[in-house]
Amino acid sequence: MTLPAHARCVVIGCGIVGNSVAYHLTRLGWGDVVLLDKGPLPNPGGSTGHASNFIYLVDHSKEMTALTMDSVRQYQELGVFIQSGGIEVARTKERMQELTRRMASAGSWGIEGVSLLNPTQVKELVPYIDESMILGGFSTAGVGVVDSLRAGTLMREKGQAAGALHVAPKTEVTGIDVEHERVRRVRTTDGDIEAETVVITCGVWSPRVARMAGARIPLTPAVHQMIDIGPVPRFRGAKSDIEHPIVRDMDTNMYERQAGGDLEIGSYAHRPILYDPEDLPPVEQAALSPTEFPFTQADFEEQMQHALELMPEIVGDESVGVKYAINGILSLTPDGMPVLGESPDVKGLWSAAAVWVKEGPGTGKALAEWMVHGESEIDLHSSDIARFHEHQKTRAHVRARAAEGFNKTYGIVHPSEQWASNRNIRLAPFHARERELGAVFFEAAGWERPQWYESNAPLLEEFGDRITRRTSEWESRWWSPLINAEHLAMRERAGLFDLSAFTVFDIVGPGALASVQCAALRQMDVPAGRVVYTPVLSPNGGFKSDLTIMRLGDEHFRVVTGGAAGMADKKWFRDQMVGGAELADMTSSMTTIGLWGPRARDILADTTSDDVSNEGFKFGSCRTIEVGTQRVLASRISYVGDLGWELYVPIEQGLKLWDTLWEAGRPHGLAACGIGVYGTTGRLEKCYRAHGNELETEYNVVEAGMTAPRVKEEDFIGKAAHLRHREEEPAAIMCTLTVDDHRSKSGEKRYMLGREPILTRDRKRIVDRLGRGSYVTSAGAGPSVGKHILMAYLTPEHAVVGNRLLVEYMGERYPVTVAVAGATPLFDPENTRIRA
């Protein structure tokens, strides 16, 4: 069969993801879609072909859970899903606690049919388990096994039946032509195809194919070991692929599942074994398939012991033999999430890579929606290919983080857990000063940011009982009471903040205003010298981002956003730019110091002869002032809800500015404050929302309580949807809650960390009319209000101040009260401080 000369879209790779993307594109109305693979069908030889094909539903990541749940739904519709149930078993007390967290995540994401089991109950469901090895289990009824190859075939056939899809197996891509930074043509062994868009769904080969277009897909092929033993006497005569629950032996990083008459044993416990895409053999040279590497027995010795301990009846049976053993190759990324979306390197070149079978169809659907409609139903910001900063795409970084993350596949990962590898990539100019102050550094976008400063220990004594101490190890991990002490010092005097991790980019030129107007909800045609905090909406009126934009001149805007979302935001703005506008990334040219607190003006005034009075420098304005011998762009805005400024200088002058402010601040009791204050305590007291927490594409401006009195005349992305939302009754309302009683059954006080389900007093989930459940979007201390603060979207009936609800945490329920419905701050509700 000859290839079409032209295609609306060429999808490269016939694994579960490629088939799904291709099918959903045709379902959404695209014709002329071509699906290629260098291998034969139905199993071209990628990771889909050797996957263990089981699906666990509950993940702490909302995004991943949503993709998985949607995939299960699709597999079920295709008739290739066998529900078996699954049990995650615990061998340790720490794991039992983790299983209560999984219960909570199930509650937050609306997964039913979950329960905690004692060893006897596990034994009833899995009669071949040695229950003396375990303390209990977390059971998910909806777990099951799929036929992913069959699913791919069915989806492909649907696209073909609609006449919209051309499938070409055994067709290898030899090049991708890019002209003017846009993809133009796919070259193959069977001829060239002019293509408007190209999707790389090549699994472990994706980086290699992307490189043909000069683009990068940061993932690494890695080994997952798997053996198949049989025939298992107990499974003799099995009528289907699986009749017993799949067991995940979490503490040993292993799983055991029935596979017909056999038992499959898989492991994520061995040393990380990473390859480069170039190491994969061509299809015709592979003994089994290009992604089934020879088994390395030495890496599996301990795992045999673990499997034997847990299932001695089967694994210890001398008549049961190891029939098949492979080092299966799968994809790992530096942060454990997939790589989805349009490449920031090449327009029209899309990636759907590092996707596993369990989330394959859901990902395919979401990506197709994104391509066709400009956004997907499921918010994919954690998977966005545009999220990576430059250093995060290097081979060394990808390998270091993938290696570190591999053994966390079934790990107990604290929500604030820090990476250990490849640190100290981006250092603030005052990094040495921070070290001298005993900073404990957390990483953000590769920047080392002080989370708190050990040198602030004397503040603990000063503030005494006003600082809550935590006794539970889990909540004390990656946390310090010094955060709360710094917070109080800032509220009473002033705090100095390292904000170097901001992503900063300028949009300049005659088209600058039109460009930022298009992206920003708020009016950007303001006088120069104004700084505007604005949501950035998706086409459906959800939150793509939120950030601040300074107007520095008629044709000069400076966009300031967080490090985590910075690169994706930059791509978003660049994509909206009109003719005559140019974007310049200033992130590595500028550094930012925050100075806030009631004494901030006094401190700044001591360093400048410029007018920094309230009348002379109003809230929401920005301008260049002289601080000592430096020219500093000062922006009077605050994310901690106090008087003060963000101060921008060229990065090489950052140290000087720090020293100047530090010296001036000492008589005023200035404290160095970490991001624990900036990102959590200061923000939560003010009920300020954060992207990725409260602000996602799944929620809109009205629901977030951020509706402005008027909508600007000018057009902007998401305007029609936003106008509609303003007319509707919101399905949910962002609320701030406080915890009434922290005591657990054991008497120890416990503090929620976020993502826990909010329940009614009679322990029922709260679900809005759009099917979205209530969960804690952010949690943290409010030292000035003396409360532990939770944020959550609640249905209008529950979004009533004084309403009493429950939060589920670590298997227990704690009483909470709605303190604020909407955006009114808990602390300083009149905002007198920031306007002081």
Binding site: L41, P42, Q285, F293, P294, G321
Partner: protein, 254 residues
């Protein structure tokens, strides 16, 4: 009874075989390793005989340090211990291999008594010299029967069935004897997990024989024509029927 089995570490093939640039070796970059399939049957036969008759079984190999993996595999199937004649990875010709094995076998026999049976694969899966077993038997002065598809112990002799065109030749030879066997002799068992775990702690005696100057020189290898053909799936279930019909039609049988 006492049984020795000699095995060789060889690449697992399946896909198209590639040669190194100088054509003097197989490119094993993408290949795993195994013992030759004939030898796997020898190991299985030894394990069965020892299970039935008790005694001591030893697996020997001449090969690189990594060949210990194949020794462990043999022990996972039931062989009691291993002797590893370690090389630096260079190829040894059949004569040198046989002489090194002979030395090791003789030393073991001097310490523990003669082997009733010594199994070899009929030929190795990679170099296919067809010689090592025969050379060892000759040096030991013991009877040797080759190409065996069936082995039956009959008191102090062994009945050997050799596949020949159109039938089988049957030999009965007295013990001790050397037998070279072929795939199909038996159906080797899969190793059990406990078997694999026991193999970890079974003894492996390591010696490092000196490689004599080779009398046979490998000039170059060539991949035979026809290599690299692959089976192709025409589909699954009923959907494959039209493609199958087409193939049969092309073959002229429909």
């Amino acid at each position: 009874m006492r049984i020795a089995v000699c095995i060789k570490r060889v690449p697992i093939t399946g896909g198209r075989i590639l040669l190194t640039d100088d054509a003097r070796a197989i490119n094993t970059q993408h290949l795993g390793f195994t013992m030759s399939p004939h030898e796997e049957c020898g190991v299985e036969e030894a394990a069965r005989l020892i299970e039935a008759n008790r005694g001591d079984s030893v697996v020997l190999t001449l090969g690189p340090p990594e060949a210990v993996e194949q020794l462990r595999d043999a022990m996972a199937l039931g062989v009691d211990r291993a002797i590893h004649l370690q090389t630096d990875g260079q190829e040894w010709d059949a004569e040198a291999t046989a002489s090194a094995l002979l030395e090791a076998i003789s030393a073991d026999e001097a310490a523990n008594g003669p082997f009733d049976l010594i199994f070899f694969g009929n030929e190795s899966a990679d170099s296919g010299g067809f010689q090592v077993g025969i050379r060892v038997a000759y040096s030991l002065g013991r009877p040797c029967v080759t190409g065996l598809k069936k082995v039956t112990l009959e008191g102090s002799s062994v009945r050997c069935e050799q596949e020949v065109e159109g039938g089988r030749d049957v030999y009965v030879v007295p013990l001790p004897a050397v037998l070279t066997v072929k795939e199909g002799l038996n159906l080797p068992r899969y190793p059990s997990v406990p078997g694999k775990m026991r193999a970890r702690s079974k003894p492996v005696a390591v010696t490092t024989p000196t490689r004599p100057a080779p009398r046979l020189e490998l000039v170059r290898l060539a991949v035979p024509a026809g290599q690299g053909r692959r089976a192709e799936s025409l589909g699954i279930g009923a959907t494959a029927a039209p493609a199958v019909v087409e193939v049969l039609r092309q073959a002229g049988v429909l």
